[in-house]
């Protein structure tokens, strides 16, 4: 191959690559711009660094490829003998330093913006559990606080390919976080077991949820919509199955939603006072069990020994109901068994304990009332 043909290829190849890049479908190939001013700044920063990298890459790789095509022995190239050139070496130390300052300066400004938290309008505690999120809307009056768990909605049938997968496969939850737009929302992020990481790409918010720490993050959302993210820190078996879903709405819709939640919370606490029948407890218990316990102890109670023991005629079931309730409410130290007293209300706890004692052929025949659970919990404190 003569030199001109080689040069021709050298020019044609990158052109071809550029042409194919121009035609490629760029949807979902890049970072999201998001819906907050911070997320847009982060996106701009990301694109800016990407282009700087491309601009550095072109001459560096260009020189390599030129050299590879033109300075080969088969073309009769004779090796030059130059080496060490102080001016050149100073140049290729100084120029990168200037480029780094050009990158670091805007990055510093964005970071300062991110850390400048103003007076929040809404305060939400985000608490990670294996493998779901708990959201608490903090209020000065504890009676007005709203608290709920948010866990994966995708069915096991979809995950195990027994039915077709929905549009928001693995990115859908039963109770999304609801927040108002154009308001400063402060997230207080923590965890009750291992380290999780709460991430919503559209807000450019990613904060590790660490037991023993409460970290702060904030956002102001510009547009209403549903924004999806996932846990970003390996947190055990179902790390891939604890999505984050945020529904951003107008202030009026948010207010209506919040007061609805507050009255639902009052109704639930009243329900804890009444006496439940066995059938009511069993029906409610099955629902609670499948949402909270089935992931580890399996929907049919067989568990996954040794980490997650079977519940069928286990010593726990054969023991008395108070011991059983103690484990469910307070968890078991040193194991993955969590303290569900912090996650479920007394009616739910009573239902699920009764259900475990009477489902799958356990047939213990005894039950526990929400009022008894409440008594145990207040005695424990």
């Amino acid at each position: 191959m003569d030199k001109t043909r080689r040069l021709g290829w050298l020019i044609a190849l990158p052109m071809l690559m550029l042409a194919s890049l121009a035609q490629a479908d760029w949807g979902q190939l890049n970072m999201t711009e998001g819906v907050t001013s911070i997320s847009r700044q982060v996106y701009d920063l990301h694109m800016y660094i990407t282009w700087i990298c491309v601009i550095i890459a072109v001459p560096v790789f260009g020189a390599m490829f030129f050299s590879m095509f033109m300075h080969r022995k088969s073309l009769g190239a004779q090796p030059a003998s130059f080496h060490e050139n102080t001016r050149l070496e100073i140049a290729w130390t100084l120029i990168p330093t200037l480029i780094l300052i050009a990158i670091g300066w805007p990055a510093t400004k964005v970071l300062i913006d991110m850390y400048e938290a103003g007076e929040p309008d809404v305060n939400i505690e985000v608490r990670g559990y294996q493998w779901k999120w708990q959201y608490t809307y903090l209020a000065d009056n504890p009676a007005e606080e709203v608290q709920f768990m948010s866990s994966l909605l995708t069915s096991q049938d979809e995950i195990y390919n027994r039915t077709s997968k929905g549009e928001f496969y693995l990115l859908d939850v039963d109770n999304p976080l609801v927040v108002p737009i154009n308001k400063r929302i402060r997230f207080l992020v923590t965890s009750s077991d291992v380290i999780h990481s709460w991430w919503v790409p559209a807000f450019a918010v990613k904060k590790d949820a660490i037991p023993g720490f409460v970290h702060e993050a904030w956002t102001i959302i510009d547009e209403p919509g549903i924004y999806r993210g996932q846990c970003a820190e390996l947190c055990g078996k179902d790390h891939g199955f604890m999505p984050v879903v945020v529904r951003a709405v107008e202030q009026s819709e948010y207010d209506a939603w919040l007061s609805e939640q507050q009255s639902a919370a009052r109704a639930a606490s009243e329900a804890s006072g009444k006496v439940w029948t066995m059938d009511e407890l069993m029906a409610k218990g099955e629902e609670v069990y499948n949402r909270n316990c089935g992931m580890c102890h399996m929907p049919n109670g067989t568990g996954m020994p040794p980490a997650f023991p079977s519940l069928i005629n286990s010593p726990l079931i054969q023991g008395d109901v108070a011991g059983h309730a103690d484990i469910v409410i307070n968890g078991k130290a040193g194991t993955a068994m969590q303290a569900f007293g912090a996650q479920l209300n007394p009616a739910e706890l009573a239902a699920v304990i009764t259900y475990e004692r009477n489902a799958w052929g356990n047939n213990r025949g005894d039950m526990i009332q929400p009022s008894e659970v409440m008594e145990m919990m207040s005695a424990g404190q």
């Binding site: 979902q28 970072m31 999201t32 700044q41 982060v42 920063l45 990301h46 660094i49 990298c53 890459a57 560096v60 790789f61 390599m64 050299s67 590879m68 300075h71 080969r72 022995k73 030059a80 003998s81 130059f82 080496h83 060490e84 290729w92 130390t93 990168p96 780094l100 990158i103 670091g104 970071l111 991110m114 850390y115 995950i159 549009e167 928001f168 496969y169 693995l170 990115l171 077991d193 291992v194 380290i195 990481s197 991430w199 790409p201 450019a204 660490i210 037991p211 023993g212 970290h215 993210g229 846990c231 970003a232 820190e233 390996l234 055990g236 078996k237 790390h239 891939g240 040794p306 040193g334």
Partner: protein, 528 residues
């Protein structure tokens, strides 16, 4: 560098290797131990590769098909541990054993008996680690970074075996590093001043200091875990007044120098190969030495860039961002040096050169994504996504692993006395090159689009990238069988290699016959 050799070929029979298998158990010969390390490394590369293929097979399509999530986590954990501690690190120790004495004109490593110990600890360490797969509760499932409390309070019982395996690996590495330092500082041939040493020797000397500095830190962190798990302490347990973030600080104080332990010797290999095949002297030897030392120094002061999302105050974030960006300067100096060495050379493209050039290009791509990750605000989006997976695989696979392959092709004729099959070598290179890029390039995009790392199943929009990555991983993985076949073929015979082997190769190792005799430089050569 020019060398005048007064080589004596000893024909005394008692100087040859022992017969039988016990030769390998009791050997104190640096060449034997080098070979043992390299074979261990290759078998661990295959084992870690098999774990990777389990991961890629599960991720081939959305949904859970082959393994359950807990086993998937065991695979990601063991893949990382086996590749880092079993494949890459022992390969470089193997290369150091074979090459450092020959490059500096020494008869052997300075501490041959310790050399034997430090190798033979490793098979037991990895047997211990692999045995956890068969244990009740399964193997470690908390990722190779084993963040507490997932790796303490919430770990399977096998975590104790993991801790002891890590201790054994650390002891082995420290002994290996001491040996390299003592050898280089004491056994150089007359006239071989520090600034005449080949760059591979320089990079290994610096790497050895890094190893001695940080392996005890790793040992410390796993010992703290052991205490937390079995002896009631609360170093990392928030409930007992401990601090889970302390774990990450200690781990990454080890972990960041560790990644340079896996790349500095690669710089040395590439700095030997590119001048040889460009038939032109390395552009800036001195600046390469200083750049390596600067990178090693910087590696100690940037660890928290792995932890930008743990809630560090803004002053800390800014410091770690700027300090991390500084690494780009000496790294850039290295890349510019390699390019300037190629410029106006007289290049040929035998397999070692192909791997070395691919190293420079693909490592640089990994460097660019590293620079992007250093930018704290952008890192909030990149952190713990496939973008990070793409980044560190670019610097470790077409980085470290390609440099190891380049080294094997370059020095194999010296080790075996035969030329390897060039056509097979080129086939191995091109299939690996395509496979590696097909596997890891799409991960940049799945990461930017929002796919977290270490998940066994993913949302539907990531399906295309994952299928591409999986296809690439099969191509890359199975191409390595060509490498194995080629090495065995080259050991068994072929075209006789000359002492010089490569037209442009320089250094003392090319002055001894091929294959290198069992004992070389019993009388030191004189270097001018």
């Amino acid at each position: 560098m020019s060398a005048v050799i007064h080589e004596h070929t000893h024909d005394d029979h008692h100087h040859g290797p022992d017969k039988g298998l016990l030769r390998w158990v009791f050997t104190t010969n640096h060449k034997d131990i080098g070979s043992l390390y390299l074979w261990l490394s290759f078998s661990m590369f295959m084992l870690g590769g098999a774990f990777a293929l389990v991961i890629r097979s599960e991720l081939f399509v959305p949904g859970l098909q082959l393994v359950d999530p807990n086993f998937f986590n065991q695979m990601t954990t063991l893949h990382g541990l086996v590749m880092v501690f079993g494949a890459v690190m022992p390969a470089f120790v193997g290369l150091a054993n074979w090459l450092v004495p020959m490059m500096i004109g020494a008869p052997d490593m300075a501490l041959p008996r310790m050399n034997n110990y430090s190798f033979w600890i490793l098979p037991f360490a990895f047997a211990l680690l692999a045995s956890t797969l068969l244990m009740d509760g399964g193997a470690p499932n908390f990722g190779w970074t084993f963040y507490a409390p997932l790796s303490t309070e919430y770990a399977p019982p096998s975590v104790t075996y993991f801790i002891f395996a890590v201790h054994l690996m650390g002891i082995s590495s420290i002994m290996g590093a001491i040996n390299v330092i003592v050898t280089i500082l004491n056994l150089r041939a007359p006239g071989m001043t520090m600034m005449k040493m080949p760059l591979f020797v320089w990079t290994w000397l610096i790497t050895a200091f890094l190893l001695i500095a940080v392996m005890p830190v790793l040992a410390g962190v796993v010992t703290m875990m052991l205490m937390d798990i079995h002896f009631g302490t609360s170093f990392f347990n928030a409930g007992g007044g401990g601090d889970p973030v302390l774990f990450q600080h200690v781990f990454w104080f080890f972990g960041h120098p560790e990644v340079y332990i896996m790349i500095l010797p690669a710089f040395g290999v590439v700095s030997a190969i590119i001048p040889a095949f460009a038939r032109k002297r390395l552009f800036g030897y001195d600046s390469m030495v200083y750049a390596t030392a600067s990178i090693a120094f910087l590696s100690f002061i940037v660890w928290a860039h792995h932890m930008f999302t743990v809630g560090i105050p803004i002053a800390g974030e800014l410091y770690f961002m700027w300090a991390t960006m500084l690494i780009a300067i000496p790294t850039g100096v290295k890349v510019f040096n390699w390019v300037a060495t190629m410029w106006q050379g007289s290049m040929t493209f035998e397999t070692p050169m192909l791997f070395a050039i691919a190293f420079v290009i693909l490592f640089t791509i990994g460097g660019f994504s590293g620079l992007m990750l250093a930018i704290t605000p952008a890192d909030f989006q990149y952190h713990d996504t496939y973008f990070v997976v793409a980044h560190f695989h670019y610097v470790l696979v077409p980085g470290s692993v390609f440099s190891i392959m380049a080294a094997v092709y370059y020095w194999l004729p010296k080790w075996t006395g035969y030329m390897y099959d060039e056509a097979l070598g080129k086939a191995h290179f091109w299939l690996s090159f395509i496979g590696v890029n097909l596997t890891f390039f799409p991960m940049h995009f799945s990461g930017l689009a929002g796919m977290p790392r270490r998940i066994p199943d993913y949302a539907l929009q990531f399906a295309d990238y994952n299928m591409l990555s999986s296809v690439g991983s099969y191509l890359f993985g199975f191409s390595q069988l060509i490498f194995l076949f080629l090495i065995i073929k080259c050991i068994r015979g072929g075209e006789k290699a000359t002492a010089q082997v490569w037209e442009g190769a320089e250094g003392l190792e090319w002055t001894v016959p091929s294959p290198a005799p069992y004992h070389t430089f019993s009388t030191p050569p004189e270097v001018k």
